[in-house]
Amino acid sequence: MELRQPSSAEEAVGLLGNGHVALAGGTEIVPLLRDGLLRADALIDIRRAVPRGIHGTTIGAGTTLAELEVDPGIPVVLREACRLAASPQLRAMGSIGGNLLQATRCWYWRLDFPCYLHGGDRCHAKDGRHDEHAIFGNDVCASAHPSDVAAALLALGTMLRTTARELPLAELYRLPTTDDPQTTTLADDELILELEVPIPEASVYLKAMDRQRWSFPIVGVAAARTAGEVRLGLAGVAPVPWTLTSVDDLDRATPLPGTAYKLPIARALVARALRAVATG
């Protein structure tokens, strides 16, 4: 394997694709390479090619979760999502861009079972153990997207700037289908450069975990009120970060036998989050 360290986004884009994979903090990619879940002929270290740091409402995709966690200019919902994500060491290493692109934690996928997401013809989780899995969008793949950060950014109405386009964060994601297992719309040679994060009037992040710290979300609920309008983003409930357009969306959940317990948790956290951001 080769390592390249381009110094600009243009140079990086020219190197990416065809088995050349972007590497930021490596917290996700290094374990995937080691487990043979990802193959790369070359790693393209993008840390000099992607902006890092916070300038007003613009966040460089290379900014670490640790940097966001302590910045007083960052909306509470995002700071709290970062503070409650992963562990101190991982937050010091992991970038916000990489966090948005993390792979599923479904144990069948991680153990290389030939499921839909690996190009196979079934979901092993639905027939097997799936208590950490989805309650929405689980027709094909039933995995639960683990990004606290993406839920917060959805609630804030974040826009992304990539090397190819500008898009609302929601458009970065797609539900996998039986003939296309992709969960994002990012091209192989496209880099996320910056995030544009509106400042809300009020915001909150609530995370149910199986222990108080250092755990993936069972359910994470982000709420933000911006220009009088409240938006909700959820983590741990669908194969991609999930938006609720209203509380009634919870009635349209499709829980599995093993994930039914998540629905009352989601209801309770949504109710609490809405109270927390309600106008005074």
């Binding site: 992963a86 060491q89 250092w214």
Partner: protein, 139 residues
Amino acid sequence: MNGHRYAVDVPVGTSLAAVLRDELGLTGTKVACNEGHCGACTVQVDGVPRLSCITLVHTVEGEVTTIEGLRDHPLVESFVRADATQCGFCTPGQIVSAAALVAVSPAPTRDEIRHGMAGNLCRCGTYPKIEEAILHWRD
């Protein structure tokens, strides 16, 4: 690293932990999960704790401090005084994380300790004593 310079020749993809242990013989840094979960392999890069098992050595830029470099840190004594070790496998990583914490916050509260030390698991369950050791590290 730890105030010294070393030249090593390893293939791309090699972790910092593997270089420490197998190339340099610095076996104080432990590898337990080897996938970023447990914190046993924690080292500092420019004072910031990182997981050496999932850090590719070719991407490290800065001064690496391992448990061997913290031999004389008062935390070592305070871990002994508080009896904060059982099997001891997690202890090097605990001390490396704790040293980074007290460098930034010399009088940490219990809550700061719990937040800052959350990435270091101890399967023997010495957490209360680790908390005591860090609270009283300068005594």
